[in-house]
Amino acid sequence: MQKKSLMTLTFLVLSAKVTATGSSLVATGGITSFEGTAGGGITPWAMIAGYGSREEIAGTAALQQLDLGEYQLRTFGAAVGIYDRVELSVQRQNLKIGSGIVGNVFNLLTAGAVDTAPGTDIEQDIVGLKVKLFGDAIFDQDTWIPQVSAGVQYKKNRDFATSLPLSDGTIPLPGTGVPMLLGAGEDSGTDLYLSASKLWLGAAMGNNLLMNLTARMTKANTFGLLGFESATDDGYKLEWEGSLALLPSPSTAIGVEWRTQTNRLGGLAEEKTVTDLFIAYFPSKDWSLTAAYVDLGRLPFDEKASGLYLSATVNL
């Protein structure tokens, strides 16, 4: 599936010359976050996906990979921006978990009786909707008022109850997936967020500066990859996300991001604030490429879950 989508993406890049990508100015569509929403790498922005103006419908297709060693997060999806007002997105996430980590889980569960097991993966689907409420992030340069959008992300974890086999194929805990083992209570949840974005033209010694702040209400554990809610806690929690980027050339953005997490489950599934350092390259309105160093904070049996993140977005 990954290979196929990569091929599709390559084809789209190569054929992009014959397609119109919309009228908006280059880089103003941002990139695509790993949840499929137009934004930075790990957080939504108030911009609507693609380069469509108020009269146009435009879209994006994107692919992301985060290499954390024992964990590999691969995601891909598509988004459509309608009249620079509404954004619809779909995203598939796949978190590959190495056999060393799964072995550690069994080791703990069986008090050392079993300590090897094959690797596994956790998949999640995300359907997103974003609506621009007010403001113009780029052209309202005479006021501090940002562009503000509201959004929802419906997330469905596909492996909430997918049980883990041992090396010999036996299933010790039928109907119990990794999120359940770690204490999650639900296999799906809906995030609600408000994003405020503002580009300050020429603000940093003549270079453009982008600021974004997102407030998110969520029940997710580690973005939903480790399920939603817990046995004792099914309420929404407010989390904060931010991006700060400098555009030292018309085609380059360099920035930092952060995103707080609830840490509802604790223990093995302890969550910490996610941070990243990114550089995005927009050679044309047809596509963009982003490289980042992402620190996810913590994942089960990985105290320092950080690594290289690559993301490509094609504009349609």
Binding site: S23, S24, L25, S53, R54, E55, E56, D84, D136, I138, F139, D140, Q141, D142, T143, W200, L201, G202, A203, M205, G206, N207, N208, S249, P250
Partner: protein, 143 residues
């Protein structure tokens, strides 16, 4: 250099010791002469653009060039007074879409680059012009 700094401190303020006051963006880019070149080029590109040309039928190129130069001069700290119509008034006859507006911005950006403004100067000029958007797009029927 050290002596100069000490002199500055003695003079009681950094402002007093600057060789010349900070030039305005207008002066920095080379004044009306540069703006006139930029908008000469931009207006040509706009008139030759099939998406935009029809909007300017009956508007002499030199008039538009002069008005844009004058208006930008005034907005970036130059000694000009804009003598043209307000943006709302001049865009009431034809409904300008945001797609068309962005196309004009791209032509002006390109013209600034081709005439030799730095990316940083280009951004600062755009920052001054950007708020005009709300008085340019979809003005037909507006009062």
């Amino acid at each position: 250099m050290k002596r100069l700094m000490i002199l500055c401190l003695l003079a009681g303020g950094l402002m007093a010791c600057q060789n010349s006051p900070q030039p305005s963006l207008y002066e920095e880019i080379g004044g009306t002469q540069t703006l006139d070149k930029v908008f000469g080029l931009a207006v040509n590109r706009i008139y030759n653009d099939p998406r935009l040309g029809p909007h300017f039928e009956g508007v002499p190129r030199n008039h538009l060039r002069k008005m844009l130069t004058e208006q930008t001069c005034a907005l970036i700290g130059g000694p000009c007074t804009y003598t043209g119509k307000s943006m709302q008034e001049s865009h009431q006859e034809r409904n300008v879409t945001t797609a068309e507006f962005y196309a004009v911005v791209e032509h002006v950006q390109q013209a600034m680059r081709l005439i030799g403004l730095s990316y940083q100067q280009e951004n600062r000029v755009l920052a001054a012009l950007a708020p005009l958007k709300r008085d340019i797009v979809y003005q037909a029927g507006q009062e």
